[in-house]
Symmetry: C2
Subunit: 182 residues, 2 copies
């Protein structure tokens, strides 16, 4: 199973591709960050995020995309950017019929460290160990994206297969937006 993990953000969008199955050693196929300049127009930044995600999908052909579920946090402006970047990532995957899974930060931390309240360093250390890397991926957004992918691989395989079938079916027969024109 090949999963692209996405830690959404407008300034830094972490991306990481992991391959493997639950119970076996995992392999990292790629890790990186899609960056967009903070001084660009919001629309242009979203276009750049789209292009970046499309490149990762083209290059790695993941079977699943795992995106961090966005919650309202203290900083409203950051949350909006995160929600908008995550929308673009989900859109890119859904257009291709790739199932999208959302995992909360606590779920991801619990999956890779055993504790839903683990800190960044702990997550980085476990990602490094689980993927047998020489050093923790930097920045933290890149490590978080890999942790998301690992979290997804370790979910119930049966559930994943079902979701994959549903997403493929949905991409073949898209829901039609209902509009009306005066």
């Amino acid at each position: 199973m090949r999963v692209l993990g996405v830690d959404p953000g407008l300034t830094r969008c972490g991306v990481g591709v992991v391959e493997g199955v639950a119970g076996r050693p995992l392999t990292m196929l790629g890790v990186g960050v899609v960056r967009t300049p903070a001084d660009a127009e919001l629309g242009q930044r979203l276009v750049a995020v789209e292009q970046g995600i499309e490149q990762w999908l083209d290059e790695h052909r993941p079977e699943f995309v795992a995106v961090e579920r966005v919650f309202s946090q203290h900083n409203v402006q950051t949350v909006m950017g995160t929600a908008q970047a995550s929308a673009v990532a989900m859109l890119c995957a859904a257009r291709r019929g790739i199932p999208v899974a959302l995992h909360t930060p606590s779920e991801v931390k619990a999956a890779v460290t055993g504790s839903g309240r683990a800190d960044k360093a702990q997550v980085g250390a476990m990602v490094t160990r689980l993927l047998r890397l020489a050093a923790p991926p930097k920045p933290a957004d890149a490590a978080d994206a890999l942790a998301l992918a690992i979290c997804h691989i370790w979910r119930a395989p049966a559930q994943n297969r079902l979701q994959q079938a549903v997403a493929l079916q949905a991409a073949r027969t898209p829901i039609t937006p209902k509009g009306r024109t005066a």
Copy 2:
């Protein structure tokens, strides 16, 4: 000047096209709502919003897209959906080199009613009058989309022209997402 107003939402995304210039009577070219089923997968709903917005852009070829600026409100779940739908609308416009303007609900209300705290009925009544319609557009999301378009037309024309030039230039030379692969 032809403007597509978008009142973003996942369940109901209001859209309305208005043509005119400040100081002259305005014309409504179309109004509607892009709807997506609440029980569909989030990724599929975003794909449906994208298809709906693309249809409106294809049909009406607006020179500007005006989108309601999303604020964090009481209902976190609604705000996330609104932010995600607005991201899709901005993405569709920016990809085509159409400038995107964001207006707050207060700015829109103040523009069409004279008060930033006007209620839905008041906005609907003024939209009906300004566009010389037989009845207020329903649902409220559709009326709000028209109000957004009107608000945008009434902004300083010089500012709009500048923004248009910048957006076109940006679409011709898109900012490149910077990624790295391990």
